[in-house]
Point group: C2
């Protein structure tokens, strides 16, 4: 059994929506046990409305949440019973195998780091996010956990990203690259120039293809893109902004007149497939890699579908035992150096 806990209270959407998504996953995935973390009364009232396999579902009471605008570490210390504290502690005590939260990203990260702890040999756990790409998706890490990084940090991101791509995303011999502003190895800022050497020289990175540019993330040229958390987060927000700006322009153009409205009606079902492809909810949240347990940060705006997919991603991550794989690779790393 894969034991997965979901914080259903600290996202932007109602707990009821998130619970619906969780129950859908419970129904489909017979090998999981779910723990819903949040206010007991709210959750049990919601559960009373529907049928589900009660042997595989528990509630873990938590009557506090850390809000989106709170300072993560302070709030984590003050609110001992906050959902993220409860989830991280269950993980630490091995009562669960994975913890999913759509709450304040900094607080989930801090709970992972401080309550669950890092794997030995991992200096800075990165947030890994799958971006949509021509033939599937591209894993980009770090997306915001570590703003100032060293080449050694980036090398560790590459090693963890490689393991995640091979084992969870099931990509054969994943192509690993450094995000840069040109392909030549002499291009870039001080960090990327130094990192290029470090990544090239580590034999454990099996398929290092060198530098890629921002546009290559969406192509099939690369599977894992390594960058510092500042740049990764800028890339994430820029992509969201560009996609939503572009989509708004297209929606506006459909409203022009009768002719365009007919076109809109005709194209709607096909356009929906396009939107699905670029919808973050399909990718089920972002793992915080290098933590001594599976911690998945879901988008703050996660709804039932996003939580459903996050649970499925969590199951795959637990099943492939990514924590053990990272331990084996990175602990060895530390001994060598």
């Amino acid at each position: 059994m894969y034991r997965i806990a979901v914080d259903v209270m600290s996202g932007e959407k109602e707990a009821s929506e998130l619970i619906t998504g969780a129950l859908r996953a419970l129904k489909e995935e017979k090998e999981i046990e779910l723990t819903l973390i949040g206010e007991y009364d709210i959750i049990s009232e919601e559960l009373a409305k529907t049928d589900f396999d009660s042997k595989r579902l528990k509630i873990e009471n938590s009557d506090e949440i850390i809000t989106m605008d709170e300072s993560p570490i302070k709030a984590l210390r003050k609110k001992k019973k906050a959902t993220v504290n409860v989830g991280a502690k269950l993980l630490k005590k091995s009562k669960i195998d994975a913890f999913i939260s759509p709450g304040n990203t900094g607080s989930v990260m801090a709970a992972g780091l401080l309550r669950v702890g890092r794997i030995k040999g991992v200096s800075r756990p990165p947030i890994a996010i799958q971006f949509p790409a021509v033939n599937g998706s591209t894993l980009v890490l770090d997306n915001g956990a570590n703003t100032d990084c060293s080449p050694e940090n980036l090398k560790q991101f590459a090693l963890m990203g490689q393991l995640y791509a091979e084992n969870v995303m099931k990509i054969d011999n994943p192509k690993i690259a450094l995000l840069n502003i040109g392909e030549e190895k002499t291009k870039g800022n001080n960090l990327t120039k130094e990192s290029y050497e470090v990544l090239s020289n580590d034999q454990r990175i099996k398929n290092f293809i060198g530098n890629v540019e921002g546009r290559d993330i969406f192509s099939n040229k690369v599977d894992v893109v390594v960058t510092d958390g500042f740049v990764g987060n800028i890339v994430l927000k820029t992509t969201e902004g560009a996609a939503s700006f572009f989509l708004d322009l297209i929606k506006e153009s459909f409203k022009t007149n009768l002719r365009s409205k007919i076109a809109a009606f005709l194209i709607k079902p096909y356009l929906k497939k396009v939107l699905n492809k670029i919808d973050y909810r399909q990718y089920g949240g972002a793992p915080l890699l290098g933590i001594n347990g599976v911690v998945i940060i879901s988008h703050g705006g996660s709804d039932g579908t996003a939580i459903y997919n996050a649970i499925k991603a969590a199951k795959r991550t637990v099943k492939e035992d990514i924590v053990k794989l990272i331990k084996a690779e990175l602990e060895k790393n530390e001994e060598l150096e």
Copy 2:
């Protein structure tokens, strides 16, 4: 008269296409004099095919170009007669007021820096690019000239961006912001945290609105976004990549079946307007600000339309005398410190 020179040889497109765009600008803009830089025979053969106001057009022979994959500074030193060397020297000698080139970006930049020279008080000239946004466009700088920057560099970018937005883009009281990964002043990496203070404390930056995120570039929340050249270039390429990926998906969806093909036929003219809005060719190239003359770097793939718009942008930039304005602001800066 505004004297503008165009390098018609070192872009990716044929000289004939670029010349057509240049002649269109010459016809519309009665106050400009054009100098076409490139192989005399090729240009004159092209000109022979058409009618134009020959009193306002000159050819400046140059039979070498710096290719896209050459090392800019080396090539600049070796190829004395390369188009960018010829253009930069004309600018240096005040034979022209502005120089436009769609060639190797590094070589145009280096020619500006080494042959024309920086304005006193400007440490690092940035490349300023207009991104499409909800109500017009947002100026982002630097887009790749300076990969590692100091807070002082970013402050200078803000001052130059402000002058360009006020005078060339004609924005009243432009909103200036720092590109960051969160709005709070405590967010970001070492550079942005320090820069926040420096930008807040400079009274000459009249409307500093603090930090913005990647997605805000496409909104009407901000007019000038300041960032280091590494991050700016990543933002540029990511935006290009996301837009083209999204567009390809939509084009694919139109091909699904007869229904979708009819929709495509109906929506085409309206979609074209959308594409125009996000087309770099509308923005006429990117000025290298802080150089002692107007240098405009056009996209390598520039065609006639892009060159036509670049000439119009060059004229506006010369007319508003942005060089003089930057001198007045930044030289003063140096005396104060």
